[in-house]
Symmetry: C2
Subunit: 420 residues, 2 copies
Amino acid sequence: MTPADLLIVNAAEVVTCAGFSEAPARGADQSVVRIVRDGAVAIADGRILAVGASDRLRREHHVGEDQIIDAAGGIVLPGFVDCHAHLVFAGDRAVEWEQRMQGKPYLEILREGGGILSTVKKTRASAIGALVTGAVRWATACMEHGTTTLEAKSGYCLNREGELRLLDVARTVQSELPLSIVSTFLGAHVVPPEFKHDRAGYLELLDALMVEIREQQLARFVDVFCEKEAFTLDETERLLIRAKSLGFGLKLHAEQFSSSGAAALGARLGAVSVDHLEHVDDAGIAALAQAPRPPVGVLLPGVPFHLAQSDHAPARRLIDAGVPLAIATDFNPGSSFTPSIPMCIALACRTLKMTASEAVVASTINAAHALGLGAEIGSLEPGKRADVIVCDVPDHRWLGYAFGSNPVRAVVVGGERVFD
Amino acid sequence: MTPADLLIVNAAEVVTCAGFSEAPARGADQSVVRIVRDGAVAIADGRILAVGASDRLRREHHVGEDQIIDAAGGIVLPGFVDCHAHLVFAGDRAVEWEQRMQGKPYLEILREGGGILSTVKKTRASAIGALVTGAVRWATACMEHGTTTLEAKSGYCLNREGELRLLDVARTVQSELPLSIVSTFLGAHVVPPEFKHDRAGYLELLDALMVEIREQQLARFVDVFCEKEAFTLDETERLLIRAKSLGFGLKLHAEQFSSSGAAALGARLGAVSVDHLEHVDDAGIAALAQAPRPPVGVLLPGVPFHLAQSDHAPARRLIDAGVPLAIATDFNPGSSFTPSIPMCIALACRTLKMTASEAVVASTINAAHALGLGAEIGSLEPGKRADVIVCDVPDHRWLGYAFGSNPVRAVVVGGERVFD
């Protein structure tokens, strides 16, 4: 037997989320967390070696005391996969956020230079060093809250040099921190002001930029924000077909403010995920559920919370229809300023009416599938990368039940102890 | 000049909340945080010595490097005062909470033995050691989130020995941890099952118990839960008049589920606070505002959040009318399972439409007044106890804007560094 080089023992629950490496859990399976009580996890060479009873694994694997993490009655889970995050940006939007909370109309804020374009302006003007410092800070915060794989979207420069810079910053973060960064090109976030009267010109620029990004392997996915204020369904389709032909995986910001048909488009084009879905209609849900390989619906409960809105994605209808769900932070300075997946689990249970088990599956194995990584991460099964966290709660339900504090006490990425 | 023994320097903002030691801030003053930019705080003998520009205080106070806390561009605030918390209990209510989230009617949960009486049952059966362990754990979590003074209500035993034990546990927590515990006797939480048909008998018991608690100086306040399911307005009045005659300060759980007149009663009896107020009506608001010394309205936004309800206290109407407001966690296993005042500030900005400034005043100086301690704590002014925290954010607005992570990086209680 391979000797273990790290043992995590004495877990009240090892929550494995096993059994869904090939395809995401959906329907009744959305809540199948699979728990080993009084459990342990053995790790060797950066991979999961075994999961089982704590007593047995301690007998079978002889490691030094300094190779043991004592979960001390807490729970052990696969590291969280935050599959929708806008990691790289400059500045904040605290003032504008407070104005919105106090009732100022968003259109007025936009007229005064606020909104996403204010972040674009600051990000374009920012030196790369400051962008790296910020992104490292936020990625570290995500990691401290249990995230071991983090998506990083570009989309706050909206020009050639800037978007390449943002993807480069994500690559630097990857080299500086132990967690895994998965980069997504979101040049199609909104049309930038200088192309306001030349949408075709911006689409051409995106087209050329995709080729360049693919050649430099700077991003794994292309994402398009399909919405009235951003890109039409036709534009989205054209961009995504082109992206697919170049070998990118596909993602969409779909049905956030209105029912647009973007979810069905994602299903038809074989997107790995369709994200937001606050306004998805029955036809959209059916299209997702009936796809040969349904995209993962990525729900982002931090957004309505952050903006104090009551538009919640129809999680129960999506689950009942058989659409696999993930949840993610949508970390960004404008509409969801939290690095914490546990916070999003607490929100999912309350505003999306998901059970804690469903939310755990949604933030681990299903989120891994939303990044095309279901075979590699997201569950505790022999052979998978040893991304493992320990939470200081007696029961996985507490991830929903308790709120506002960080339950994560230890983080292991690829078999390396990040902290414990 | 007294030599300082601790300096906190390099704060982007020192948020003093000064000027309201005699009476809580209200109306337009609710948002007066008073900020010293590039500021510092000098501490001597456990008290605030000076607040001012960082440069100046470093020049004027010569201390060793190990007596300096570098706020490093973060913000410095008075320690949070959590003025409404049910600290001592056994067990949790995670299962029942999830059932409620999934739509199970609360009455059904009660019929099956859930609800507050399930916590009473577990707490009565718990050994004192386990109660101390739990209370120390939660008080520590509160402290890690910046709370330097914490209320601890009894109310989960509802019999003589048990209630005395809970107050004794709170006293033990006080002796084991640096933060300040303020004990409140809440024997009048609900009528326990054994007195279901003898309310008069339970009121007599409470009466005798108040005498005993006063003699032993086990609590500073008496609180009564005035609500259909708990104690009538008449019963509440009788209990509070008796408590006042014994020398207790008065608190009320008022107008949480229905408009009962409890707020006006609190105003008339000179209560230090009336707590909840989700259903306070215009007459209640007027009675509070017009009292010679208005009680502090203690709002508890964690409760509707925890239970996914939409009953929010009318914070803006209360402020406009001139009622001073505090916010608190209402930490308890049934209806608000968070130890975090920053989380409650984030909620107050979103669901109560308070500004970040108002919420900061509400969780510091006004919360101190809700515990009768406005002259001693709650602001950074020379002579006050040196309860000071450092938050890793650039601006106090971020306490509302960012959510789901703990901004608190350093805590000083009575001039002693708890962590930094």
